[in-house]
């Protein structure tokens, strides 16, 4: 399918089309976050044999809205001993970092906010913003728990970028590009063309099929750690660190952290679905494919991964800091390296 930005085509490459391209993902993010929060509430409740929120709206579907309104109304407390500037800045930096990632996510063949040819690299680069924000927030809070949480978070995120980056690198080698749209287009034509199953190609891809499966698994695990989700939610490990780096935050600023977490979840889910699950392409070849269907496929694939993240969160206990590092450096990294080497060899041979 031909890829382009529909607003550029309709309105020309001008300020207006750029504005729309920026605002649309923001709108999407807000709606998605509300749905994801509801999903988190409901799925956790159902897994635990509870009903979950039932009062706000039919079956409690307005609950996230109510929570957002509550958070906005809450008093904004800044601790007396905090570094005011950094304390106030941190949530915005985190949120900006995670929102910037949306710039290169292709929602459908006809819409990607900014079509740049190093999209994958860009997402990783801006993703690192969050580390700065977290360390800032944790340090500025002037709270020992926050500081511990922030330090843990920084080390964790940096460690897990590496296996994650290796996975992306392997995919880039396989696809021969860093452009998200191109990677997606490559996988058109049915689910057997997804990189999850070795990508497009002849029968020879059977050699790398187990490794691409493994790679997607590694990315899944690494992405959980990068977004600070259970089992890697050590930075906010409730039982030890109360709430980690955002212990002292309240009201709207806390909501920013919250939003950033959910938007990060979506970004990693989106990368996973674009790189390994074919993004906006239909799993059934040309059946149900098209520009509008593209949105549907992309969002539902990403949402499925978000669901798995939530599901895992309510299943697993939390790992410990040193075990997390062990997992990252001694398990994920070697596996990712082996896969990377094998995929590179495959590229050279075929």
């Amino acid at each position: 399918m031909e890829t382009f930005n529909v607003f550029d085509v309709l309105l020309g490459n001008n300020f207006l089309s750029a504005l729309i391209s920026v605002v649309l993902p923001l709108v999407f993010l807000v709606i998605y976050a509300l749905i994801a929060i509801l999903g988190e509430l409901k799925i956790s409740a159902w897994i635990q044999e509870r009903l979950g929120p039932m009062r706000t709206g039919p079956y409690g579907i307005l609950q996230p809205l109510a929570e957002v309104i509550k958070l906005i109304q809450k008093e904004d407390i800044v601790p007396a001993g905090a570094n005011k500037l950094l304390f106030n800045l941190a949530p915005y930096i985190i949120f900006a970092g995670s929102f910037a990632g949306f710039a290169v996510i292709p929602f459908t063949a006809a819409f990607v906010p900014a079509e740049i040819n190093i999209g994958l690299f860009y997402v990783f680069a801006v993703g690192a913003f969050a580390v700065i924000g977290i360390v800032m927030g944790g340090w500025a809070s002037n709270n020992k728990y926050s500081l511990l949480g922030a330090m843990r978070s920084a080390s964790q995120m940096i460690s897990y970028e590496i296996p994650g980056a290796l996975v992306i690198l392997s995919a880039a080698v396989l696809a021969n590009t860093l452009d998200m749209q191109k990677i997606t287009s490559l996988q058109e034509g049915g689910f057997w063309n997804w990189f999850l199953f070795g990508g497009p190609g002849g029968f020879s891809k059977i050699w790398i099929l187990p490794f691409t499966l493994l790679l997607s698994l590694i990315y899944m695990i690494a992405s959980l750690a990068e977004t600070n989700r259970t089992p890697f939610d050590i930075p906010e490990g409730e039982s030890e660190l109360v709430a980690g780096y955002h212990t002292e935050y309240s009201g709207m600023k806390f909501a920013m952290f919250f939003f950033a977490e959910y938007s990060n979840m979506f970004i990693v889910a989106a990368i996973l679905s674009i790189v390994f699950l074919g993004g906006w392409t239909s799993p059934f070849g040309s059946f149900m494919s098209g520009y509008w269907w593209g949105i549907f496929w992309f969002v539902s694939k990403a949402m499925f991964i978000v669901f798995i993240q939530i599901w895992l969160r309510w299943t697993l206990p939390r790992v410990r800091v040193d075990q997390l590092m062990y997992l990252g450096w001694k398990i994920l990294l070697p596996f990712a390296l082996v896969c990377f080497v094998i995929i590179s060899l495959y590229r050279i041979i075929y």
Partner: protein, 383 residues
């Protein structure tokens, strides 16, 4: 200081500033109002000082101004999670002072209730232990089952947590007609949930990693500190008062004493303590089933209740196997209708005293897990 190797680095060689961290009294995982003064070297715990007393209610002094019957509601409130097991040693102690013999049926109901309460207590212990390790879902599964047990209690005694059910010489009232079926259903349900919990939590590799080889309590240290209950048995010492000096009618039942064997780590680590609780639930189920089968249907549960509890001069110490350990009551009577002195030997208090010993050299996250594995109740520690 004992040091532990983490990622092959010997942390004692790195010289850093110590940080003092106050955990509690308001902290999500101090199991009540316990304050821990933790000295951290990076994330490694170098010392812990527990500060207790936030829930002190003068139980022992109040008991001197109450008559024997009135003390029972206070006894309930010591370890409010397993009240039945608290009442048992107290009433048996007073009965010993009086030289009273209670009817068969009373004994059976007492055993069934105490074992049900043991199950409920261990369920909470495992649930909160899982919560300390970060697993939220098993917590709610176990609480659901505990709720079913509490319903039985409510139907039989009128109270959900604080029963005032065992009286000196008998029971407050007889159980309701369908009691036996209800209890057997619960036993079935408890076993089913245990299987789920084993799959979801106990044998989960993450959980094993979190708890195995953590907070190792060697058997000799446990004995020196006077630990009892799952703490002691987790260290591999098969000491259970129900077997060692059978009280009530425990000598009639066939059950085993589960001990920690170090299946996934060292003997006496947190995982062992937890699995001992897990297996004790199963043993309690067995005791309940046997007791239900043997329990006489007829009989007056109040026939032996004395009109006035006025023991002769004397003193008695009686101890029972509480879910948390050895709970003993030392009662001195001076011949009046009020005890001259009541002293409780609280297992949680003794078990907590070993915390600094077993948590030095572990990470801060481990400290929380170790604390969770001790299974304390602040009501009992502070009394």
């Amino acid at each position: 200081m004992t040091t532990r190797k983490i990622l092959d680095i010997d942390f004692s060689r790195i010289d850093t500033d110590r940080m003092r961290l106050n955990v509690g009294p308001q902290h999500p995982s101090t199991h009540g109002v316990l304050r821990l003064e933790v000295e951290l070297d990076g994330e490694v715990v170098t010392n812990v000082i527990p500060h207790i007393g936030y829930l002190h209610r003068c139980f022992e002094k109040i008991a001197e101004n109450m008559n024997y019957q009135q003390v029972i509601p206070y006894v309930d409130r010591m370890d409010y999670i397993s009240s039945m097991n608290n009442e048992l040693p107290y009433v048996i102690a007073v009965e010993k002072l009086l030289g009273l013999k209670v009817p068969e049926k009373v004994e059976y109901i007492r055993v069934i209730m105490a074992e049900l309460n043991r199950i409920a207590n261990h369920q909470i212990a495992i649930a909160t232990f899982g919560l300390d390790a970060g697993a939220f879902t098993p917590f709610l599964y176990l609480f659901r089952d505990r709720e079913y047990i509490l319903w039985i209690f409510e139907k039989a005694t009128g109270g959900r947590l604080l029963f005032n059910y065992f009286w000196v010489g008998g029971l407050a009232n007889d159980v309701y007609p369908t009691f036996k079926e209800d209890v057997l259903n619960i036993v079935k349900q408890v076993r089913k949930t245990n299987k789920d919990i084993e799959e979801l939590l106990i044998y989960n590799k993450i959980f094993i990693d979190r708890t195995a080889n953590i907070g190792v309590l060697p058997a000799d240290v446990a004995i020196n500190y006077g630990c009892s209950g799952p703490m002691l048995r987790g260290s591999g010492v098969p000491f259970d008062l129900r077997k060692a000096e059978p009280y009530s009618i425990y000598d009639r039942f066939d059950f085993e004493i589960p001990v920690g064997k170090g299946e996934v780590g060292t003997v006496g680590d947190c995982w062992d303590r937890n699995i001992v609780r897990m297996r004790e639930i199963e043993q309690s189920c067995r005791i309940i089933e046997q007791a239900i089968a043997q329990m006489p249907d007829t009989g007056d549960v109040q026939s032996a209740i004395p009109k006035k509890v006025r023991p002769p001069k004397g003193e008695v110490y009686f101890r029972c196997e509480n879910p948390k350990g050895e709970l003993g009551f030392y009662i001195i009577s001076d011949g009046k209708d009020k005890p001259y002195r009541v002293k409780g030997r609280a297992p949680s208090f003794v078990n907590l005293s070993v915390l600094p010993e077993i948590s030095r050299g572990y990470l801060f996250a481990d400290l929380i897990v170790i604390l969770g594995s001790i299974d304390i109740v602040l009501g009992e520690i502070d009394r």
